[in-house]
Amino acid sequence: MHLVFFIFLSLLYSSRLNAESLAPGYAPLSFAAPVPSTYSLPELGVAQDGRVLDSQAHERSLLALMKGKIVVLSFIYSSCDDVNGCPLATFVLHKIQHQLSLHPDRVKHLRLLTLSFNPEHDTPEVMRQYGSSFQAESLDWQFLTTRSVQDLAPILHNYQLNVQKLSTVEGKFTGKFSHSLKVFLIDEQQKIRNIYNAELLHPESLLSDISTLINNQTHTRTRPKKAFSPTPTRQLTALGLPTLPVPRANPLTQAKIALGRKLFFDRRLSFNNTVSCAMCHIPEQGFTSHDMATAVGVEGRTVRRNAPTLYNVAYATTLFHDGREHSLEQQVWGPLLAHNEMANPSIAFVLDKLNSQIAYQTGFKHAFNKPATMETIGLALASYQRSLTSANSAFDRWLYQHESTALSPEAQHGYTLFIGKAGCAKCHTIKAHSALFSDQQFHNTGIGYRDSMVTNASTQQIEIAPKVFVNVANSLINSVSASKQNDLGRYEISQNPAHRWQYKTPSLRNIALTAPYMHNGSMHSLSDVLDFYNAGGVAHEQLDPLIKPLNLTPKELAALLAFLQTLTGDNVKQIVDEALSEPIGN
């Protein structure tokens, strides 16, 4: 028996006296080995080159030695006596060599490379002798060294190996090294596919990984991306909607809609690249957000009001809950510049950011034949939002196309209540040939009044886990609450005291998709909303006279709910799919 192998076995034998101290690689795997090719070995980087010497003292390129082979590369030094260091690597490779010898079809794919990091001692001859104890004819296992420490250094650096000479307190080199045990699995394209240390290096798992590479069925798992659809092809007019109002100065074009959609989903439109329009107006959540009552902006800043749905926003004669804008082209700059929304510090900041990107240079040129400007950004975003029309609902087909079966009898009863006893249509108007379900006016339901004027109870019930509720003292909540901003509604724009706590009547189209409800998102379901109106809102001096107790029975409330659920347009999936096809700008 060769001396080196004898020493190696002696080390192992002595270590077995303390089995706990041995690395897992020496024992049978304590769990089921991974089944080859049922998992991925993603690429961890590119194997690096270096000048090495083979055991015949021929200078070789490390990458040349790897070419066309699956390689297991280990780093050792021949006099290493740390049983869980170099000997572990050599033991594991020796073990797989033995097992692979039973599979010559697999052996031909594989090469083992063991490189010394002690070139001063480990000459090619030393490595030849060291390797001769382990090598078998069946497997290509080469033992390498370098001509010098200088040749070795870049290899150690590139493979991130921290090797330290160990010295006595007098500073004398002991001939030993402190080092990181790292073994690399490298594929035929010289990509690193796994890295093993003392805890992970085991013959069985290494064999599984090698087999996985040989089977060549690995792939990187990433979320599949949906096909990109450059422009919407759907109709923008639909049964139940009036003629689409399009400003003369901004005729709709596919190029503008596509550009506006790209902008809408681009998080870089915010100051710190975190918030896009779509983060609050989420397509899959009815172009609002189901997850919160009122929105949050850049750095989590509080927005006072619920993000309104953008379905059919083209028809709104005023915008925002307080109606402070009347044109989509102008409206877009509100969120872009608001400190608590997208927080851009200036118009120029936005323009510079967009015009510095080739995709936008091309997009704006294509749509407007000019770069991004305050005007063209507004035109593009308005065009996309204007395209979000949705109707041809069951209700539309029933009322305007006289499809008698489009609504259930219960929903038809709900319609009767809607325009009659419940009085909903007084604000959520329905016309002879179309219905926007909004009078485009402002009303005081008492919700804003309650927020501003009514003192909360001393505790609040909070759901801390599914169906687990606790009553929490307001003092505790207040200790972690920023000061609540007041909200006076339309008054903030008009400064007319009569307009305090008035908010714009929202459309009810697609209402089943756009929870939570009301300007502050305080109602989680349509049933909550119906109950609120049935009770007559929040009584106070300025409550809108149209709002009063309705005395609706539970059956009538159910009928109203059934009716509201018939207002969902038939193109929602198309709009959402189209939106999801847009790559998100990060």
Partner: protein, 447 residues
């Protein structure tokens, strides 16, 4: 100074050197701050020189930016108890967690808001970390993962937990791998009910993420679950009173196959299980987590026939008062678990000698609020910081921001020093990591 790099293997029998020999059971199974580190990482078992404090910038305070603050904690140092270095990184990124690469050469510090990961060289001059790289492609490369949280060392790579996504800023998220060079490797999405339809799992699979820990000898990887960007960036009080927002917290711990990164099992752990800490001893096949909202200690343990289970084993304070347990730290001998509760500003010590029956044995108020706790390997030195999340921290005078050092004498926490991060114009003190020159001294000698 004693350091135990688990894969650096000195030969103490032969040598009189300053490195402490790693006993292999520890080296092969270590997980804990210094008692809570990755098992793949070199660790400091003696006196640490410095603590790096990943600090959130505050509007209106100092330079308002996030920064890596270095505090001298070596008692014999002339600058003991002082801030000796501060590296501002630009912007407020919602600085949160930070951790080292497996070779402990670099410290990766994540921003939950901007998704940047700042890579600091801590080996060239451990007392003065240097920002050497900023990873800005995390969201784009990962396929839309938002909120890089735990940066957990695996051999040659970092496993990074996400908290959210760029589609709706909700809680669906993924584990993301980068190599140590800062290049994207892979994304593993958290299992969802949809993905699990095939195995008819009865446990709700929320797809949320938070922390991650590995037990290599068991081929075990665990991930916990918190909430998405919309909630963790929201004003805390606003969120507590928003019933819709409160429905969007994680209620699961996921067991993964460490080798294949494939989800194997989902445990129902209601109420936002946060930090995961695994026991050190080879015969201790279990990990702990605590639920932030329901205030319980949970044990994730290997039961009969190698099947892993989850069980609530203790209450923390009075759960109905929402003490909000945040960071936890396990001792290196698996007998103690420090649990910080944010709302009452207390740290609580649990005797976990019987892992199934933790008992609180001590509590101490640290400040008006407290979040992170880090323990030295021997458990005699504990450090605390104050900030939870920028918009979750307390308001007004209760918004204390500090780094506090204590000595644990086995009975009581004895204050050593405190640094007021507001007075020092630094910001909100969050994650702490230890540094020691001795980790790198021998490398210098070798050169």
């Amino acid at each position: 100074m004693n350091t135990t790099p688990n894969t650096l293997r000195p030969f103490a029998r032969l040598l009189n050197i300053s490195l402490l020999l790693a006993t292999l059971p520890c080296a092969l199974n270590a997980t804990a701050d210094e008692t809570c580190q990755s098992p793949y990482m070199a660790k400091i078992t003696g006196q640490e020189d410095v603590v790096y404090v990943w600090t959130l910038g505050m509007e209106g305070l100092g330079d308002e930016q996030d920064k890596m603050v270095t505090v001298d904690v070596k008692p014999t140092s002339s600058t003991y108890g002082k801030v000796i270095d501060s590296v501002s990184v630009g912007g407020r990124n919602e600085a949160h967690h930070a951790d080292f690469t497996d070779d402990r050469q670099f410290l990766w510090a994540g921003g939950l808001d901007t998704n940047k990961i700042f890579v600091f060289d801590v080996h060239t001059d451990p007392l003065h970390p240097k920002l050497v790289k900023t990873i800005t492609d995390f969201v784009a490369k990962s396929g839309g993962v938002v909120g890089p949280h735990s940066t957990y060392a695996l051999p040659g790579r970092m496993l990074i937990t996400g908290l959210s996504n760029n589609k709706d800023h909700g809680g669906n998220t993924a584990l993301v791998e980068y190599n140590n060079a800062g290049e994207y490797v892979a994304t593993y999405w958290m299992p969802t009910a949809k993905a699990l339809q095939a195995d008819q799992s009865s446990v709700y699979a929320d797809g949320y993420g938070y922390d991650v820990r590995a037990l290599p000898r068991k081929n075990l990887l665990l991930s916990s679950s918190f909430t998405g960007w919309s909630n963790y960036m929201m004003d805390f009080g606003k969120m507590l009173t928003d019933a819709d927002a409160m429905k969007h917290f994680g209620n699961t711990v996921v067991q993964w196959d460490l080798h294949t990164r494939q989800a194997k099992k989902i445990f129902s752990v209601p109420g936002a299980p946060l930090e995961l800490r695994c026991a050190w001893k080879p015969e201790h096949n279990y990990c702990f987590t605590t639920t932030a909202l329901t205030s319980k200690i949970w044990l994730i343990y290997e039961a009969e026939q190698g099947v892993w289970q989850a069980k609530a084993v203790a209450d923390i304070g009075v759960p109905a008062n929402i003490p909000l347990p945040v960071d936890i730290s396990i001792s290196s001998d698996d007998t103690k678990l420090w649990v910080n509760t944010f709302m009452d500003g207390k740290t609580r010590l649990f005797d976990i000698s019987d892992a199934f029956h933790p008992k609180q044995v001590y509590e101490q108020k640290i400040g008006a609020q407290v979040n992170m706790v880090s323990s030295s390997w021997d458990g005699t030195r504990l450090y605390f910081t104050s900030s939870l999340l920028a918009n979750w921290d307390k308001k007004g005078l209760d918004n204390e921001q500090f780094f506090k050092a204590y000595r644990w004498d086995g009975q009581h926490l004895q204050p050593q020093f405190a640094i007021d991060f507001l007075k020092e114009k630094l910001g909100r003190a969050h994650q702490m990591k230890f540094g020691a020159r001795s980790l790198y001294t021998n490398a210098s000698t070798a050169k």
